[in-house]
Amino acid sequence: MSAIPSPNETAVPVLSVRDLSIALPPGADRPHAVANISFDVHAGRILCLLGESGSGKSILASTVMGLLPEGLRPVGGQVLLHDQDVLRYSPEAMRAIRGSQVAMVFQEPMTALNPVMSCGAQVDEVLRQHTALDRAGRRARVLEIFQHVRLPEPQRIYDSFPHQLSGGQRQRIVIAMALILKPALLICDEPTTALDVTTQAEILKLIRDLQAENGTAVLFITHDFGVVAEIADEVVVLQLGQMIEHGSKEQVLTAPREDYTRSLLDAVLELEPAQRPELPHSYPLLEVQHLFKTYETRRWPAKPRIVNAVDDISLRLHAGETIGIVGESGSGKSTFARCVARLIEPSAGDIFSDGRSVARASVRDLRPFRQVVQVVFQDPYRSLNPRQTVGESIIEGPLNFGVPRAQAWAAAEELMRLVRMKPEALRRYPSEFSGGQRQRISIARALACKPKVLIADEAVSALDVSVQAQILQLLDDIQRELRIGILFITHDLRVASRICDRIVVLHQGKVVEEGPARNLFTAPQSDYTRLLMAAAPGRAYRFARSSAAPSVLVDA
């Protein structure tokens, strides 16, 4: 059974959350995951739940689904679905409406599907549970919905397993699964965060269309204003479980009432080149010539599988310059970074630092080079040894280069100030810091060796927008201060546009476009670049923003 689309506000909302509070288990960072939240979602409308990581978005979603992780329980309020409080439902009743009246699309398409079950069967389960259709009937319905979510060759997809599909295709399967019974309410928890911009655009469009078509009410969770701008009708802003602001898209994005909302909006990056100082012409710190990296996975007697991860890339990096390497997932960015940092050996081509070739250098000969080039990695949670104090991690490099301990430690404290953290933090363990802080620590560690070149591989991709902005600002300042060259690797054009002098666009290991950031944005040459830019969500939208640059607060 599906709800009738009803544009007018007076009609009964499909979902109505009334001052809902959910308690966290004792000893959590705060008493409530979410506290007195109230909002309505009407048929045919999309409500965006916006907030930074940990603000309670997913918890809200799972509450509505009746899938709260154990340890968490509602302590007040109601969740009304067609005026029925689902919090009072028995497990059976809850199960009965799940999939038929309320459906959900999750963040990670890679893990949301059962790897050992064919996609068709997984969708089939929904029908098997909620309808009386026979085998043939069900199969027909499934193929139909596959068609509907624009999956190529539904027949083949039906029998193929998740690992045989791309991320986008998997997300379409999940959506098909959610929509096949035309539920009244669809909940999407960051359905596109894990996808490439191009795919993201398609998925958003798909959700929009289907929702309009069936008059489904949608609760859409995201932390990306671009996405909000794309699809939202209404917006609810959460901070640490508190409901900060609630209003129509226009009102919240263009005329926010709350400072918090404003500060978030300030952090949003424009998709246009930032102003960069002119560089004095100088000798390149780092020169890469026709770099190749091919991965051969040969499993005798099977024929070897060859991946040209990096396919003929050349570039020069000067002091004080930032070069952005942009490309979708799998385009070879990290591989390139690893080659340049000589963490792995390139298959062909050459790398010069201070005129010395290091492409083939042995471990011993690399020592001086190591001092020149340092790396900051993507995942702030995995790039610091959890068993070492932050200080130990930072001084490790200097110690390797023979700096006396005391001196190294002093330098480390200096660096902490540089990355805007308190020196006391040196004595603590990584687990005690937030993602953003860890990333600063990683940067401090990289700088400890006084490198001339810094390679940042997705250094901000895992962070919330506000934190992103701070880190980018930090890198910018450090560069001005130390005149280092930065190789900045990202999949996000906005980020690239924020700090890069030049940009290299990669696609499947090849350079598709290369040039000064300004030219690239104003007059992109290749179709692929254009595609990327077109795909960036909410690019047309003019967000409200205070003149002040994003504040970078000293914390920890």
Partner: protein, 288 residues
């Protein structure tokens, strides 16, 4: 850290039990025992809690309370069980220790230096393919039932498992970003192994160690049971049971009491292992 472990019920109880056992076994002479091989054939198969006149072979005789009765040769079961514990515990501890040491060495080497990996792992596979018991039986039977032989025979089959464990940890951690970072910081290989990789293996190793210890104790007793254990004069839980089993139906206590003690010990060690796993397993204390 230790307090956190102690708070864990199973860990606390099992380690208390093992401690008690250790005290009894080490302090055997002070817990109402005779020498384990002091015998008086005339007092064979006494029931539990019997006080009887004991004339040992030297001819002198004295009253003694046989807590758990005597075996078929008129030796005090209680004494033999306490002294027998010494062997079992030694075997368990030593085997665990050595198989961990050697296994870790092999694992580290083949995990980090890919060149030798192939060869080493093939050897390990080969060794692993020979069922531990069969291997131990043959070795002990061949080189005679000396404690040293016993230890070697039980240790060797355990090495491959440890090696594989350590290797997998190493292979896993190698890929971690913080190891790459260390490489980028020009940290020497050995230091990387010591500082960044080995620590990750310690918890799994401790856990594995307890299981090996338990297995070793069991295998030792099985060997004794099959008549391939230590010298018949050496009382071990296994040999006591092996000797007792020829009259199990009439005097089950001679088999069951050591059996229960053995089971309790192994149980305690296993429990300790499980507890430690709950507490130390990287999965639990990674991103807290």
């Amino acid at each position: 850290m230790l307090r956190r472990l102690w708070a864990h019920g199973p860990i606390r109880w099992s380690s208390l039990l093992l401690l008690l056992l250790l005290v009894l076994v080490v302090g055997a002479p002070w817990f109402g025992t005779l020498l384990p091989d002091a015998m008086d054939p005339a007092n064979a198969n006494l029931p539990m809690f019997t006080r009887a006149l004991f004339n040992d072979l030297s001819g002198d005789s004295y009253e003694h309370l046989f807590l758990l009765g005597t075996d078929a040769m008129g030796r005090d079961l209680w004494s033999r069980m306490l002294y027998g514990g010494r062997i079992s515990l030694t075997v368990g501890a030593v085997v665990a220790l050595f198989s961990l040491l050697l296994g870790s060495l092999v694992g580290l080497v083949s995990g980090y230096f890919r060149r030798v990996d192939m060869l080493l792992m093939r050897c390990m596979d080969g060794l692993m393919a020979i069922p531990a018991m069969i291997f131990a039986i043959s070795l002990v039977a061949i080189f005679g039932a000396r404690l040293s032989t016993l230890l070697v025979a039980i240790t060797i089959p355990e090495i491959p498992r440890v090696a594989r464990l350590v290797r997998s940890v190493v292979l896993g951690v190698r890929e971690e970003a913080y190891v790459e970072a260390a490489v980028a910081l020009a940290t020497p290989t050995l230091k990387i192994l010591r500082r960044h990789i080995l620590p990750n293996a310690i918890a799994p190793l401790i856990i594995q160690g307890t299981y090996i210890c338990a297995a070793a104790i069991l295998i030792e007793s099985s060997l004794s049971f099959l008549g391939l254990g230590l010298s018949a004069e050496e009382a071990t839980w296994g040999s006591i049971m092996a000797e007792g089993r020829s009259q199990f139906n009439q005097h089950p206590n001679v088999v069951l009491l050591p059996g229960v003690l053995l089971a309790l010990t192994v149980l305690a060690v296993n429990m300790l292992g499980d507890g430690l796993r709950d507490r130390l397993d990287p999965k639990f204390n990674k991103r807290t």
